[in-house]
Structure formats: structure tokens, C-alpha cells
């Protein structure tokens, strides 16, 4: 790859947008993605607010466009391990982990997955479904190349026997590749907070207290239950409550910030629940309803007026399980009262926090993080500029933002990188 290239770290919606814009402008891009597929968190969602577009249906063409682009080299299962140099001439080391499958030979037919005897929880499905040891994380994965889970593999050899393309490579070794680039864009997204530590919500203690991302998989037609919102015991959910700001706007773990998207995704999830089962009763327990984006207020109005979603202002203090799997939510609508809501499923809108490994990456890149581990801006009104010249940031890993904001931010970072590559006039001080 020539000098005039750009490295994009993270193949979620922000990173893909940045890569695609640069590639379309004729700039070579190396897109490094840690998992097996591009797509990021958006690929895990069932629908998107406020239009209820099917997330993967609108995302999959973008994933293909990125992967197929002649100017984009997509390295999946890869991580940046070192960088040297400065704006205009970075040298990047990338660790390419092994898929144990020959990427050039595999055509994604899935025969290996069908014969593999292993059963392993699928992370993409939030551990709600079992996949095989030879797998792709989801049907529309890009690239459509299988991988072997060698940590769990017994090396029975069945996949090797069945594979008509002779693509299985049990002894494939990881490799380090080097790329020279002029600029770097970081777009590593977020992780949902594991709410187990917030014991008042009973996550992990009660079967039917789940997280919003788990709910997205449940209600997705391609998800583990085929889109049926059911309790762990298989019964249909009749009364369901969302609890907002779980671990967010909460100073206990130094997470005072608002995650910006949860009021709307809870609204969406409640609408979808009603669409699946108009008899279901849906409640959203919130502190401030944040419906500030384009069309959001109108969406909330529809949820209330057309779907009968009930919004309750009040922060739950405790959730208790009763017999028959009924969950009691105790909350306080005013300072001198405690009320009780009985439901059979609770969805926690957990905080969305900087991705695992963000500190290590920031150290490799030589960029600063802020107090909450989001990438720090050098100038707050220059929303893609990190503390290091030539390294730009896009998407949620800089601060909470929703999908269109992440996409705009991805394009914005691309323009900053274009300034370096096309314009050639840049300031080494960032």
C-alpha cells in the first residue's frame, strides 16, 4: 500500500462510512476490524428508530460496498499492535489472527458449520444462541468466510473432510502485516455495560431481566427465538418494562453522562413489542425523556398515542422476583411515594461504554482519552480531531451519538483525512 493511504480502525457504521468516502475519493484504505465481520453494533439491532427500518437490511449493502470496493482492503480478525511515524507517514503494524480457513478458497457455503459437532454460545446473539465451532457470526456477515473456533475445537476433522474447497487450515499461523498510511481514523464504537454489578436490577439473578441488546436479538426475526419475545420458560411476554439510565447518569461508577440513544431505542423496542403482540402492555421508566433528534418527538407521540406505550417518570430502586416469574419493580414517582409495577420481563437500557481495549489502543496510538475513556478532542469544536496530529476519531468512541450522527462523524473524519492526503497541507501540531 502506498504512502497516500488511510488506516481506519473499526468496521462499524462510522468506520465503514469513513472508509467508503475515502475510497470513493480515490484514496486507498486499510480497514481493520477486530471481529469476523464488518457491521459493528448496528448489525445486531433488529430495527432502527425513528423509521423502523430493518437494521441489517439497510446495513448489509453498505457492508458489501465497503468490502468489494477496489480501494478498500478489509482485514478482519485483526488488531493494530504498533504505530510509528507522524502525520503524513505512519507505519502501522497489524496482527492478523487466524481464521483457520483459507480466505481465498472459502466460498461461505457453510458445509463445515453443518458437520461440526461443537456447540458454542454465539456472542453476536448476546450468548442467546448456540453456534457451531466452524462459524460466521451472523447470516449476512461480510466477508462471507467461515472461521474455526480453535479454542473449543477438538480437531475431529469433519470440516476438513466435508469442505469441497479444501479451505480448512488447522495450522494456520497468525501474521503481522505492515501498512504505510498518511492518516488514521479510529472508530471502535462501544460496548454495552454488563449490569450484573448494579444488584438492584437483579440482572443475572432473575431469568427475565435482560439487557436492551439482548432484547434486540430476541425480537429480531433472524434471532435466537425467531423474533418471538418470550421468557426464559418459553412463555409469551405479556407485561414488559424498560428501565432507562441503567448505569448511566449515575455517579456511582463515575458515569454521569447520558448515552443519548437509550430513550429512543426503548421507545422503538416498545413499539416493536406492540407490533408483534398488540395485547402486550409496555412501560418505559425514565428520568428525562431525551427525544431531541429529527423526528424523535413525533416517534414518541406515535408510541404513546397509536401504540399505547406507557411512559412513567421514576427511577426504580429495586426489582424483586415473585412466584410465577413475576417481577416487581419498585420505583418512586415523587419524593414521598414508592410504587410497584408488576411485569413478566424487564429490559435494562444499560449504559453504552467505551469498548474493551480502548486504553491499550489509545496507548498504541499515542492519543489521550478523557475521564470516561472516550477519545479526547484537542479542540471541542473540532469534533474529529484527537490529541495527536493525523489521528482522527469517528463515532461513539468519541462521545455518545446515534447512527446518523455516527455516519456524519465518519464522513467528517474522512474529510479531515482527505485534507492530509489530497490537500497535503497539514499542521503537525494537530
Amino acid at each position: 500500500m502506498e504512502d497516500k493511504a488511510v488506516l481506519v480502525i473499526g468496521g462499524g457504521v462510522a468506520g465503514m462510512q469513513a472508509a467508503f468516502d475515502l475510497a470513493e475519493a480515490g484514496i486507498r484504505v486499510c480497514l481493520v476490524e477486530r471481529t469476523l465481520s464488518v457491521g459493528g453494533r448496528m448489525a445486531q439491532l433488529d430495527k432502527t428508530f425513528p423509521t423502523n427500518d430493518c437494521a441489517i437490511c439497510i446495513l448489509a449493502p453498505k457492508m458489501m460496498d465497503c468490502y468489494r470496493h477496489e480501494n478498500i482492503e478489509v482485514l478482519t480478525l485483526s488488531e493494530v499492535t504498533a504505530i510509528e511515524g507522524e502525520i503524513g507517514s505512519f507505519k502501522v503494524k497489524i496482527l492478523r489472527k487466524s481464521r483457520f480457513v483459507d480466505e481465498d478458497k472459502c466460498n461461505g457455503c457453510g458445509d463445515c458449520a453443518r458437520v461440526c459437532p461443537m456447540g458454542i454460545l454465539n456472542k453476536f446473539d448476546m450468548d442467546l444462541r448456540v453456534r457451531s465451532g466452524a462459524y460466521i457470526p451472523f447470516m449476512q456477515a461480510v466477508p462471507l468466510i467461515y472461521a474455526l473456533d480453535r479454542d473449543k475445537c477438538m480437531r475431529c476433522g469433519l470440516c476438513e473432510v466435508i469442505c469441497g474447497k479444501d479451505a480448512i487450515r488447522y495450522n494456520q499461523k497468525p501474521e503481522i502485516v505492515e501498512r504505510n498510511v498518511s492518516a488514521i481514523i479510529v472508530a471502535i464504537g462501544f460496548d454495552p455495560l454488563d449490569p450484573s454489578g448494579l444488584t438492584e436490577y437483579g440482572y443475572g439473578k432473575y431469568d427475565d431481566v435482560i439487557t436492551a441488546l439482548e432484547f434486540e436479538r430476541l425480537i429480531c426475526a433472524a434471532g435466537p427465538t425467531g423474533g418471538h419475545v418470550i421468557r426464559r420458560d418459553g412463555k409469551e411476554v405479556k407485561r414488559i418494562a424498560w428501565i432507562q439510565c441503567v448505569g448511566a447518569r449515575d455517579t456511582r461508577d463515575n458515569r454521569p453522562y447520558c448515552c443519548s440513544v437509550c430513550c429512543m431505542h426503548a421507545t422503538k423496542e416498545a413499539i416493536l413489542t406492540k407490533e408483534h403482540n398488540p395485547e402486550a402492555e409496555t412501560f418505559i421508566l425514565y428520568t428525562d425523556l431525551r427525544c431531541f433528534g429529527k423526528g424523535f418527538q413525533e416517534y414518541v407521540n406515535r408510541a404513546e398515542d397509536d401504540y399505547g406505550v406507557k411512559y412513567i417518570r421514576g427511577k426504580p430502586g429495586e426489582i424483586k422476583g415473585k412466584e410465577n416469574k413475576i417481577l416487581e419493580i419498585f420505583y418512586s414517582p415523587s419524593s414521598d411515594k414508592v410504587e410497584k409495577l408488576e411485569v413478566d420481563m424487564v429490559v435494562l437500557s444499560t449504559a453504552l461504554i467505551p469498548s474493551e481495549g480502548v486504553e491499550a489502543l489509545a496507548e498504541i496510538l499515542g492519543t489521550e482519552l478523557d475521564e470516561y475513556k472516550f477519545f479526547k478532542l484537542k479542540d471541542p469544536y473540532n469534533p474529529t480531531g484527537t490529541t495527536r496530529a493525523g489521528i482522527f476519531v469517528a463515532g461513539y468512541c468519541q462521545a455518545p451519538r446515534d447512527i446518523p450522527e455516527c455516519i456524519a462523524h465518519g464522513s467528517a473524519a474522512a474529510s479531515r483525512a482527505m485534507e492530509v492526503v489530497l490537500g497535503g497541507s497539514y499542521d503537525r501540531r494537530a
Partner: protein, 569 residues
Amino acid sequence: MTEELRIGVFICHCGINIGGVVDVPAVVEYASTLENVVYAERNLYTCSSEGLEAIKSAIHEHELNRVVVASCTPRTHEPLFRATCKEAGLNPYLFEFVNIRDQCSWVHMHEPEFATEKAKDLVRMGVAKAARLEPLEELTSDVIPSAVVIGAGISGMTAALSIAKNGFYVHLIEKGSEMGGLLRRLYKLYPTEELAKEFLEQRIKAVEEHERVELHLSSSIKDVEGYVGKFKVILDENGVEKSIDVGDIIVATGAKELEPEGLYEYDGEKVITQLQLEEKLRREDLNRNGIENVVMIQCAGARGEVVKYCSKICCMNAIKNAKLIKEANPDINVFIAHNELQAYGEEYELYYRDAKKAGVRFLRFPLEKRPKVRKSDGKLVVDVFHERLLMDIPLEADLVVLSTPLVQNPDAEKLSKMLKVPLGQDRFFFEAHVKLRPVDFATDGIFLCGTAQGPKDIEESISQGYAAASRATIPLAKGYVSSEAIISSVDEAICVGCGICESVCPYGAVEVVETEEGRRAKVTGVKCKGCGTCGSSCIKRAIKMQHYTDDQLIAQERTAFVTEREVVS
């Protein structure tokens, strides 16, 4: 076309994905009996390098002039097979894809015999269409390597400067006599509390000093014609008409504050808007006038009162101004009456907490019972219905500040018609896709950013400014735009110029023009996306959708419903 048709058919086993259900050898045998088919074979994986080589060598060996592949899905594999045909010297649009995996073997996996019959039907239909395929070419058109940015507020300035830094010439057009837009009317910015004036001065200087930005102040757009790569923008610059040729256009025309006429006793003196307050803060009026109590009312005119939407920035702007008042004079009581407080994101929540610490008092009212402003003994009183106490709290006020929403500029309608880009129900410019294309219009070569798209804060306006710059730089950097090969075309002999096609085209690609023969529809190839909407709406059947012509589709349908015996004989 008098050339002899020589169709080659390649049936893929896809390992056991197709071959495990469909009797592939039987389908191959059947395919070879079809009219015009001179060659048929099967491959374990047609997409493998061996499979692709087999296609290429068969094209040469059997002089194939049409290729049909029956395999997985065109979604992932059509581009590959088209490219293979092209490599063998065949026009890539003489290729037809038949989907016998996703739409046959997978869905009928428990009925292998029926699946085999369906595969035969699908192949027969594909062959029928292939016989009528025509070679198509992708058109390319040059791009004038410069852009126009309409509006020199913060997002427009950002966009213009970034395009210039990307190496291209930019015309920045501003109807006012100065750059800066709505920011000119702000005192300080949240959350940094830096002076808007200083912030703007640096940025204005950077734009003015850039050699590739040409500024047109006191200028309005008179007309726009053309398409991506070749737009002609007619300006009235200080009374002088100018014509500018550019490759693409960014709309950054901003928004304005709603004037709350008739709401909350608004008078512009004692009951004012946030922007009017900014002016007072700048002049340090509040202390001089002995003001003791300030009450701010949120959502004044928003969220169902005048406009339906939430204006996103008013909560933070009110918090900022309230905090500034408290910091300048802690003795002034400042109340913010609000419904849902939009202190979203990372920093705003912290800023909101700071304002509370500074002594700003927050009162929440239900949206059904908004505050009322009344006069009592010559003094203003704001009755705020307290959501939890369930009663009106009367607040005496020396100054009432209404947080009114941003609304679209009145001249946006005219611009939207000139550019043929839509406004949404909220009257803001309507982007190509709410989720995936926030700064694009559906029409190629026209982009948008900032508050013209909807209310947003400075940081986000800047982010969108850069984003629009990126999108607009793409055609400029490429130097050309290529159109789809699969586009519509008009038979002028049949067209009566009714204009239905023009009204339904989502991309502004069809327009009715005057010709010597009268009014006729005309398709601009580079704008057309091949959606076929015009073709299906044409009452005279004058519009042909290439690659999906009536002739091709009807042949395909006809053969779907005849029996095997009839076809063979």
C-alpha cells in the same frame, strides 16, 4: 439484431447447498434442450477460480454471446460473474443470473423433486430473458472540480474550508453581508463558554485567507440548472448577476429562531426570546436594570405548541444563559421551567449539573399544562404547574425568557424548488435517508449540513459541515461521475409530454422539455438510478427500462407458465 444467439448455461452445485437438494445433472440436461442454448455444464462451485475459468473458456470455445449462471444469489455474486464475462470479451450486461439457492434449494430443502422442477422453470425463464438481453454501457461524465456552498454560517464555513483544504475551489455564497450566521447573535457558547465573537473571528479569518475560497456576500441564488459534475448556479451578487459553473452543491442555509408572537405575553422587552437575552448578556444589561428574577420557559412553541418537534438545543442554551446570569450576579434568581430536559451526551449532563450547583433552579411542568404568563399589579407572574406537587407555583419575574425552537428559513421553499430537493413535514430540508445518509440528498451532487437539515448544536453543525465536505469532495477528486448502465430511456415518437414521469422520479432525472416535435420527456443518464418508477408510470409505454424491458420481462413471464412439453417441442 441478426446475430445468432448462442447461450451458455452454468449450473452450480454450491457444494451440497444446491446439489444436495436439486438434481443438478437433470437441470443441466434440461437446460441443454432449451432454445438457443448451445452449451450447458455444471460446477461444484461456479464462483471458484476453476468455475470462472470454465465460463471464460466456454465463451471462447463455443462462441457464447449470452451467459446464464444458476447459483446462489445475485446480491453477492452477480458482480463477479459480470466481471468474468467482461474479462472474456463479452459485454457484462449479456449475463443473466438465476437464483436457485436462496430462492429454491434453501426454501424447498424438504421437497427435492419439486425443487428440481422449480430450478428448471427458473433456468428456462433466465434463458428466455437472456435471449433478449442487449449490451449496455456505463456512461461517464466529467466533473468541474469546484463546489458551491450556500450559506456561510458555521456549518457552511466549515464545509467550504474543508473542501478548499482538500484541494478544490469553493464558492461560498451568503445572503447576508457577513459570515457567521446565527452564531453572530450568540454571546457565549456552551459548554466551553468561550465568546462566540472570538470563536467566529478565528474561523472567518481562516475562510477569508484561504486561496481556494471565493466569498460571495450579499448574494442570493437566482437559478440552478444542470446535474452532478456540471451545475450552473446563477447568483445575484449585490445587484449584479453572476454565473458560476461547479461540480456540486452544498446547502447550508441554516435556520432561524421562532418568533413567539402571541405566546406567553411575548413583547420583546419583558418577555423575550433566548436570542434577545444573548444580546442583553453581551451588553451586560441585566445588572443595570435591577433585575432580580428571571424565569425561562422551555419548549415555547415547540413539541406540539406551534411546531411538533423538539428543537434539541434550547435546553442547553437556556442552561448556559441561566448559568451565565448566576455567575455574573449570584443574587439574581434564575428558574428554568421545563418538561423533558435535553442534556444529552457526555458533556451536557455535566454542564447541567454545574448549572444546578451554580444555583439555577429547575421546575418541571407536564406538557399538557404549560406555564402561563400573567400580569399582576404591573408585575409579571409565571404560573408553573408543578408536576409532583400538582399545583401552580407562581413565580414573579422581572424578565421572562422564552426558549423557542429553531424553524426553517422562509426562503428555503424557493431554494428547494430550484434545486429540486425536498423539504420534510417539519419544513427542514429532507435528507436522502434519515438513518444512513444524513448529509446527502437523493439527487446526486447536492448535499446538506447544519441546521438547514434540522436543529443541532454547534459541534454537530461543524461535524456535518465536514461530513458534507467529504461527500462533496468525492466527485471532485474522482474527476468523473459514472452513471448506471441500467437506466431508462424515452421513445420520443411515442411520448406525449404528460410529465407523470417527471413528477414521480425521486432523483430529478426525468424532465419534460420543449422539442421541435412538442413537449417530450428527457432522461439525464448520469442522474438516473434505474429504479424504473418512470417506466412503470408511463401511460404511453414510451419509457423503456434497460435490462428490464417489457419485451424481456414478458418473455420471461410467458415461459414461466408454459409446460415443459410445449417448450421442448
